[in-house]
């Protein structure tokens, strides 16, 4: 079942809550503004994903990882996000939950892929040496 980007919106209730918590008391948000922010958030996810994926592809990895996302944030000029994101990552590691069990399967896939990449690396290095000799 293919889902188009337009079909996937982030839940309005959560978006509204995030907005309300960010703004001072007494400030209201129109329905149109809320809808636009929700749309903007979806666009942000897509743009960040695309940017992060470029870093993964550059590193010859098929699996997007957190480091790729952090690199993407910097590329997108959202450096201010880097510190809170790193803190969130540390917090997550301190308190592992059942969600991490799923990620282990994915990490195993990543390791297998990275081992394949490592086998290819000596070839790349050999090419570089050849270039240096010239």
């Amino acid at each position: 079942m293919a889902e188009r980007p337009e079909d996937l919106n982030l839940p309005n209730a959560v978006i509204t809550r995030i907005i309300k918590e960010a703004l001072p008391d007494g400030v209201n948000v129109s329905k149109e503004a809320r809808r636009a922010i929700s749309q903007a958030a979806s666009v942000f996810v897509l743009y960040a994903t695309s940017c992060a994926n470029n870093f993964a592809l550059k590193a010859k990895r098929k699996t997007l990882n957190a480091g790729d996302v952090l690199a993407a944030m910097e590329e997108m000029e959202f450096e201010r996000f880097l510190e809170p994101l790193r803190e969130a990552l540390e917090d997550k590691e301190k308190k592992p939950d059942s969600v991490n069990e799923k990620s282990r399967e994915e990490e195993e896939e990543e390791e297998e892929e990275e081992e394949e990449r490592m086998e290819e690396e000596p070839e790349v290095e050999a090419e570089n040496d050849a270039e240096d000799e010239e």
Binding site: P5, P11, V14, R80, F81, A88
Partner: protein
């Protein structure tokens, strides 16, 4: 040694006025904490460990990109967190324009103004309905 009446006698019945004032002071403290969060630096706002945005939805969005094959759990989590930060940022930056218009309600045009004015939001131009 005669025990004088200098020692204060604690009332056996709770003083209703005191209870109300305690609640009021507690409420005031909560409000103060909230305002401190709002006026403090953005980095000081505490974020819960869990992301508020549903990771499954975020991942489904990410997968609509044909170039993306696999995404680690961590990366989905970090994008969810980053999106939260983004929503906070764009809401706050748009509010400036509402305030300039002496309004207390954030409107769509405030968002448009922020997108046009702020470099980081340039990627949004032409993407919203």
């Amino acid at each position: 040694m005669a025990a004088t009446a200098a020692t204060p006698v604690t009332p056996t019945e709770p003083d209703p006025d005191r209870c109300v004032s305690e609640e009021e002071s507690r409420g005031a403290e909560v409000e103060e904490e909230n305002t401190q969060q709002h006026t403090g630096p953005a980095a000081a706002v505490s974020h819960s460990r869990l992301s508020k945005l549903p990771l499954a939805r975020i991942k489904a969005l990410m997968k609509t990109d044909p170039d993306v094959s696999l995404a680690s759990q961590e990366s989905v989590f970090i994008i969810a967190k980053a999106t939260e930060l983004f929503v906070e940022m764009i809401a706050k930056d748009s509010l400036v324009y509402a305030q300039q218009g002496k309004r207390k309600t954030l409107q769509r045009k405030d968002l448009d103004n922020a997108i046009e004015a702020i470099d980081e939001f340039a990627f949004l131009e032409g993407t919203l309905d």
